[in-house]
Amino acid sequence: MTISRRDMIQATAAAMALPALAKAPRPSPKPLFFTPAEFALVDEMSDMIIPTDQQSAGARAAGVALYIDGRLAEAFEKDQPERWRAGIKAVEALSTEMHGKAFMAATPEQRLALLTRIAAAESDPKSDAEKFFREIKSGTVRAYYTSKIGIHDDQQYKGNVIQPGEYAGYDAT
């Protein structure tokens, strides 16, 4: 199957003719919703959920916390940002209970112990800290796998390309 140059130009032109319609807020370099302390906790915890490994960089490099912050800052339903704030408080309380210090002041081993504890109840969370794990994990998953790093480096996604010749895949024989 060959493709004419005209077809190709037509397709590309149509796809490119996209005026910058939605110039909505870009992720700002500074958090808009989280306090610096809250941001540091979310940033750290998201990077523990999806860390850097041999394949790809993790949630911190992908800007997950900043993306979450942007959505919470503009949220229409105010219960959502409130839930996050309360969840962070619950994590801090648990950290104090477990280790006698704030989450970010704890050692990496202590943070891991806390995260392991609240993640254990993932299928049926009861405490506020356990519920927060679900919240931040789902936020991290959404933000990471829609990021450049998530899509290209980690998943090595092959699609969203123009296939000018034969389509990829197998024939129905």
Partner: protein
């Protein structure tokens, strides 16, 4: 009000003092086809569309990466899509009292909601009442064809002669032989992709090159063949080799339409504006007026015949009249019924064309929900491949109640499914834990899942109907529809079988079943409403004859899905267009003979 966000791109200098040969109400698959066929026969046609004309390419932005969108494709704050639970716990009108700025049907909640926020109607302006129903509407030039799922299937005599086959319901007043030449015309004019299977219950189209399968789908196809069942590449209403139409390009396998609620900004997927309406305008015979909501078919007090249409301009809220010798209603199954019921006159006290009392009744569609997800173990850890560069995955045609007779239900269902790598690894939602193990597991399993969900025929029953709400009106003061509709025992039994059969088929193929969904989705979910002005030979029990012509009013035609006598389990769009083509050819002949 969402309707005035975009200024119509053309001046609407429509001459309302003249009498057109025909007025077509609605610009979706049916109305677009009517406009195409009638203008190509030289008739002067006025096309009225309730919605606006928007620069659709700018809306769809098909190849935009999630990270290039400020909200990764999600709509701005204040936009809300009705959730499954809301549909079931609450009663319509669902947007009543909502604190959100805009409320959309559930489709507005799919990934990429930002891309459909100007395509779907805002439920706040378009209330309906009665029983729960997930009514999805798109008011813009081209209607729902701008975002349709593109599965383009033919019906067969198992459908048209269903009563003869199993005793239920009514036969259609046509057989497959009557419509076959028109399916061919639609295939050739618009383009369709698919693979020949020679099935009597799912006739082949005149296909352009098919989309490919993934390795997992090949495995399932081979296994199903040993059971006498079929898995075929998605039969897509998409031109893969190109058609003669300067407004359309052929499909380059970008997969854009599959990643989003739909839509193709190079118009390889059929949509009514580029496929039908713009070419019709090029004949010089078509006049288009958008933002024009028809609310009454006007009647000549002497003859009782249709003489035109009264419509509200949705921007300035003024009422206008347009005159024509023939009126063709194609506003979608439910909106067409609403328009007929609204058109009350001395000659037609129950609404025009409704002497039978069947307008709004025999309302049917597809039931969906049950489905199965499986893990193909051989694919775990496989390197990523391009699996989603296509308009759809696969289709498993009906296999029940063809040669066999099921004890619990009549009629059948098919499955739509997909598998392999996609832009977002959905399994991340259900993969437990966190950290390096979690990340690795998501990566290794990303391409290993296969899933499919059923689409079953909902029986046409007189008791399932819509009428006009005596009190509630839309934002333009037009009475709203009221639903009296629910699934019956036949649909429930069929859905039990769907889940079980899906599981059996995966297991037989050696696919590990990791999820079986048994829940039935809310009525309306399939977006395949049909039957509210059915065809038939008996004017006492049907609204239209075999040419979608009103039994009561010979210059009134209803050419959309409302004319269907039964729902089949096969998706309706291709049949809507083939029928409209056939009827409008007949209409043009009769018009030239002076018989209308």
């Amino acid at each position: 009000m969402t309707l005035i966000r975009f200024k119509a791109s053309q001046e609407q200098d429509v001459d309302l003092s003249r009498t057109y040969d025909a007025i077509v109400v609605g610009s979706g698959a049916a109305g677009g086809m009517a406009a195409h066929v009638l203008t190509s026969q030289g008739m002067k046609v006025l096309l009225l569309e309730a919605g606006k004309k928007i620069p659709i390419e700018q809306e769809l932005r098909s190849m935009e990466w999630p990270y290039d969108h400020p909200r990764r494709g999600e709509a701005p704050p204040g936009y809300h899509a009705i959730r499954f639970n809301e549909y079931n716990i609450r009663k319509p009108p669902y947007a009543k009292g909502s604190a959100f700025k805009h409320v959309f049907s559930y489709v507005g909640g799919w990934g990429g909601s930002d891309y459909v926020k100007n395509i779907l109607v805002d439920e706040k302006d378009h209330p309906y009442t009665g029983t729960k129903y997930a009514w999805v509407r798109a008011r813009l030039l081209g209607g729902k064809t701008n975002i349709w799922g593109r599965l383009a299937l033919r019906l067969s005599d198992y459908d048209f002669k269903g009563k003869t086959h199993d005793g239920y319901g009514e036969d259609w007043p046509i057989s497959y032989a009557d419509i076959e030449p028109y399916y061919d015309k639609v295939d050739l004019y618009l383009g369709i992709s698919g693979h020949k299977e020679n099935l009597p219950h799912l006739p082949d189209s005149l296909f352009q090159r098919p989309n490919k399968l993934t390795a997992s789908e090949v495995t399932l196809r081979k296994s199903l063949a040993t059971m006498g069942r079929t898995l075929t590449p998605y039969r897509a209403g998409v031109t893969t080799d190109g058609v003669k139409n300067k407004y359309r390009s052929k499909c380059f396998g970008r997969g854009a339409c599959g990643r989003r609620p739909g839509g193709c900004d190079i118009h390889a997927a059929f949509d009514s504006p580029t496929g039908l309406i713009y070419p019709a305008m090029d004949t010089g015979n078509l006049t288009l007026r958008t933002n024009s909501t028809a609310h009454e078919v006007l009647v000549d007090p002497n003859t009782g015949k249709a003489r035109g249409v009264s419509f509200v301009d949705s921007v300035n809220h003024k009422t206008y009249e347009a005159k024509a010798k023939v009126v063709i209603v194609a506003a979608s199954t439910l909106e067409s019924a609403r328009l007929l019921l609204l058109s009350k006159s001395r000659q037609h006290p129950n609404g025009i064309g409704n002497s039978s009392g069947h307008v709004g009744h025999n309302f049917c569609e597809h039931v969906m929900g049950p489905g199965v997800t499986g893990l193909v173990k051989e694919m775990v850890g496989a390197p990523p491949t391009l699996d989603d560069g296509k308009p759809g995955g696969f289709y498993v045609p009906r296999f029940r109640n063809l040669q066999d007779k099921q004890p619990g239900f009549v009629r059948g269902y098919g499955f739509e499914g997909g598998s392999g790598f996609s832009i977002f690894p959905d399994s991340a939602w259900s993969t437990p834990g966190f950290g390096g193990q979690f990340k690795k597991s998501v990566r290794e399993h990303a391409g290993a899942f296969i899933s499919m969900g059923g689409f079953g025929e909902v029986l046409a029953r007189y008791e399932n109907y819509v009428d006009l709400d005596p009190e509630v009106k839309d934002a333009w003061g037009i009475p709203s529809l009221r639903f009296h509709y629910e699934f019956s025992d036949n649909e429930k039994k069929m859905c039990e079988d769907m889940a079980n059969a899906g599981k059996e088929m995966f297991e037989a193929a050696g696919i590990e079943v990791v999820g079986v969904d048994k829940n039935i989705l809310t009525e309306g979910w399939s977006i395949h409403e049909l039957g509210t002005a059915r065809m038939g030979t008996d004017p006492k029990t049907s609204v239209l004859n075999q040419f979608q012509q009103s039994h009561d009013v010979k210059n009134l035609f209803v050419v959309d899905g409302s004319s269907h006598v039964s729902a089949s389990c096969q998706n309706p769009t291709w049949t809507i267009m083939a029928l409209a083509w056939r009827s409008c050819e007949h209409l043009a002949d009769e018009f030239k003979r002076g018989n209308l």
